[in-house]
């Protein structure tokens, strides 16, 4: 992957650079920030995360499984306790709830991993260690003339360092 990387020390400069890069459509933009910043979310105009779909689907699967397993166990090895029904849904709600949280919670995390593209084995291109500290990074995946345009926009907005990577 080829592109241009700009490192900014000031958030407003980085946001203005992203806005102009977006208008000039020179390539896909990735922004690196030490902490989540809504300014960039607005500038980049990404839609909402789809993690929630997995939370819902797997939460429902979890609650179904959580009810099913005690019903099956009770049916397989019937124990009459206090004259209650073999499959008593009230006490089984506890297991249903716990398994819903377990499966739904873990699915949320795995969905986040999938959408965010982690675990990542290599991170040599388009990243700089300063971006977890105090700097803001803007990576534009571009080649040729587009890369030159991106480079000039990043410099114009006061990037501390601009470099091409491949």
């Amino acid at each position: 992957m080829q592109g241009v990387l700009g490192a900014f020390h000031h958030i407003d400069s980085a946001v203005h650079a992203v806005e102009e890069l977006k208008k000039s459509r020179v390539g896909d933009i990735t922004v690196y920030t030490p902490t989540p910043r809504h300014e960039f979310e607005h500038a980049l105009e990404h839609g909402p995360s789809k993690v929630r779909v997995f939370t819902l689907i797997f939460g429902l699967c979890g609650v179904t499984f959580g009810y099913w397993i005690p019903v099956w166990m009770s049916d397989y090895w019937p124990l009459v306790v206090g004259g209650k029904a073999i499959a008593s849904w009230v006490p089984f709600t506890i297991l249903g709830f716990e398994v819903m949280v377990l499966v739904g919670g873990l699915a949320t995390v795995f969905a986040m991993f999938g959408f965010a593209g982690i675990p990542r084995l290599t991170m040599t291109v388009g990243y700089d260690g300063r971006f977890s500290g105090g700097h803001f990074g803007v990576w534009v995946a571009a080649e040729g003339n587009d890369a030159a345009t991106a480079e000039s926009i990043l410099k114009k907005h006061g990037a501390e360092e601009v470099r091409r990577e491949r």
Partner: protein
């Protein structure tokens, strides 16, 4: 450098995390990284504390080995009291584990500003407390190597656990809680581990940190999904906190024993758990902020806010104590009335009064703002709360079993050195993990603190960084107020 923040006055809302109020002595992101990563250097005091913790843990392990050899009779069980220190300590540690998720998940959903600087410690405390609690049902078994019989899986015995038993509910609840709270802790740690990875010079340590960080790069895509996932995990963890201690309370409330068979138990246990957990947070955070010189992160305003929560939960717990007496009095049930009389004026009066003084009376001091803002008093009070909450569980478990319906069921209970050794070992086990944690990983969420600290801006505001709170300076850039 200012180490405290002024009290909030004049109708200001302390939970709105504006930088000037939250962290008046923190100027930029680099300072956050430098100061919090700086706490990872081991010190002589830390080695000494770790040595003591390991020694206590070894005493516990040796005692347990002795108990396995001799049998459960080595502990202080004596009919009719066949639940003792192990079950008391199990409930105690599960309770401690509740404040962590309360602080990290529930206060996150409520956007409580004081959470930011104490939630990492609380989350770690939760995980290690639940790890400790999970040992006690196993310690309590006559044949501990058969503990896995409670886990439902296809097996050669062709039998399954009874899903109507509170003990099976416990297995599901505690294992789910341990899994979700560990996941919550780890997910929150990923961006901070990435910070440590990027600062690390030692190649071996860097490789370990890089593996743990999973290749995290702080990209907009990662943050977008991370913040959503974190929110949903918090939303899942919130009812989980309430459910787990409710399930633990069912271990008692499902029995017909006097003093146990009450519908008040689930909310009573949950309030007690949160109260005891906040007590333990104070016990840990107050020395930590002093030792790590982080008083300007955990400010007096944070302690003040947490102390108010402590006061509130103490009053809920106190109300539950009094309600129990009122219910016994109004029930007309002689066994119930006798039991409560015996608890507070009879055989177990000493334990009941330790509980009442530590959990109901001493926390009333927190009505005073001066005391809420006095770390030394909060620390002393937290020790009393820890003692009081252990005795609360003692008062629940032992008096009920020693004074059931008929005179032949009346007896006494005296723990042996085996009980005390294992109790000491549990503290050693907990603090060993905690001390190891605080020197390997940051005790405060660096990335989240940076959300509150204003970022550097080129145009106009560098003269006073505290005026840079997002949403108040340049709406064109900040977009959404934090």
């Amino acid at each position: 450098m200012a180490t405290t923040a002024a009290p909030y006055r004049g109708g200001e809302r302390p939970n709105i995390p504006s930088a000037a109020k939250r962290f008046p002595a923190i100027n930029d992101y680099e300072q956050v990284d430098r100061e919090i990563a700086g706490t990872l250097r081991p010190t002589l005091g830390w080695f000494a504390a770790l040595g003591i913790a390991i020694l206590c843990m070894l005493i516990g392990a040796t005692t347990w080995t002795y108990q396995i050899h001799e049998g459960l009779g080595a502990a202080g069980y004596q009919p009719p009291v066949m639940w003792g220190v192990y079950i008391i300590t199990f409930v105690f540690w599960v309770g401690i584990g509740h404040a962590g998720t309360l602080i990290s998940a529930i206060l996150y959903l409520f956007r409580a500003g004081f959470r930011t600087s104490i939630y990492r410690v609380s989350e770690a405390m939760t995980v290690f407390a639940v790890m400790t609690a999970g040992l006690f049902p196993i310690l309590h078994l006559g044949r501990p190597w058969k503990f896995f019989y409670l886990i439902p899986y296809p097996n050669w015995r062709l039998i399954w656990p009874n899903p109507k038993s509170p003990l099976v509910w416990d297995v599901f609840a505690i294992l789910t809680y341990l899994t979700i709270s560990s996941t919550f802790l780890y997910i929150g740690l990923i961006p901070d581990i990435a910070i440590l990875r990027d600062r690390e010079k030692n190649p071996v340590r860097k490789a370990i940190l890089a593996t743990l960080a999973l290749g995290w790069r702080n990209s907009d895509r990662e943050w977008r999904h991370f913040t959503r996932a974190y929110l949903f995990l918090a939303a899942f963890a919130t009812p989980l906190v309430l459910s787990v201690h409710s399930v633990v309370s069912f271990d008692f409330a499902m029995a017909l024993t006097p003093g146990w068979h009450a519908t008040i138990f689930p909310p009573y246990f949950v309030a007690g758990a949160i109260f005891s957990g906040i007590g333990m947070v104070f016990t840990i955070v107050i020395p930590l902020r002093k030792a790590f010189k982080l008083e300007h992160y955990v400010t007096l305003n944070d302690l003040d806010a947490a102390a108010k929560l402590c006061l509130f939960t103490s009053m809920v717990v106190g109300l539950a104590y009094l309600t129990e007496f009122q219910v016994a009095w109004m029930s007309g049930n002689k066994f119930e009335q006798d039991y409560f009389w015996n608890r507070v004026f009879g055989q177990w009066a000493w334990a009941a009064w330790i509980m009442l003084i530590c959990n109901m009376i001493l926390p009333l001091s927190l009505w005073s703002q001066k005391l809420r803002r006095n770390p030394m008093w909060l620390f002393i009070l937290s020790i009393f709360i820890n003692i009081g909450m252990w005795f609360e569980r003692f008062v629940i478990v032992v008096p009920s079993l020693s004074h059931e319906f008929e005179p032949w069921q009346w007896g006494s209970y005296r723990p042996t050195w085996v009980d005390y050794g294992i109790l000491l070992g549990s503290f050693g086990w907990f603090f060993m993990w905690f001390l190891l944690f605080i020197k390997q990983l940051p005790v405060m969420a660096m990335a989240e603190i940076k959300e509150v600290v204003p970022p550097r801006m080129k145009h106009g505001h560098d003269d006073d960084p505290h005026n840079l709170a997002a949403g108040t300076i340049d709406p064109d850039i900040t977009g959404v107020a934090h």
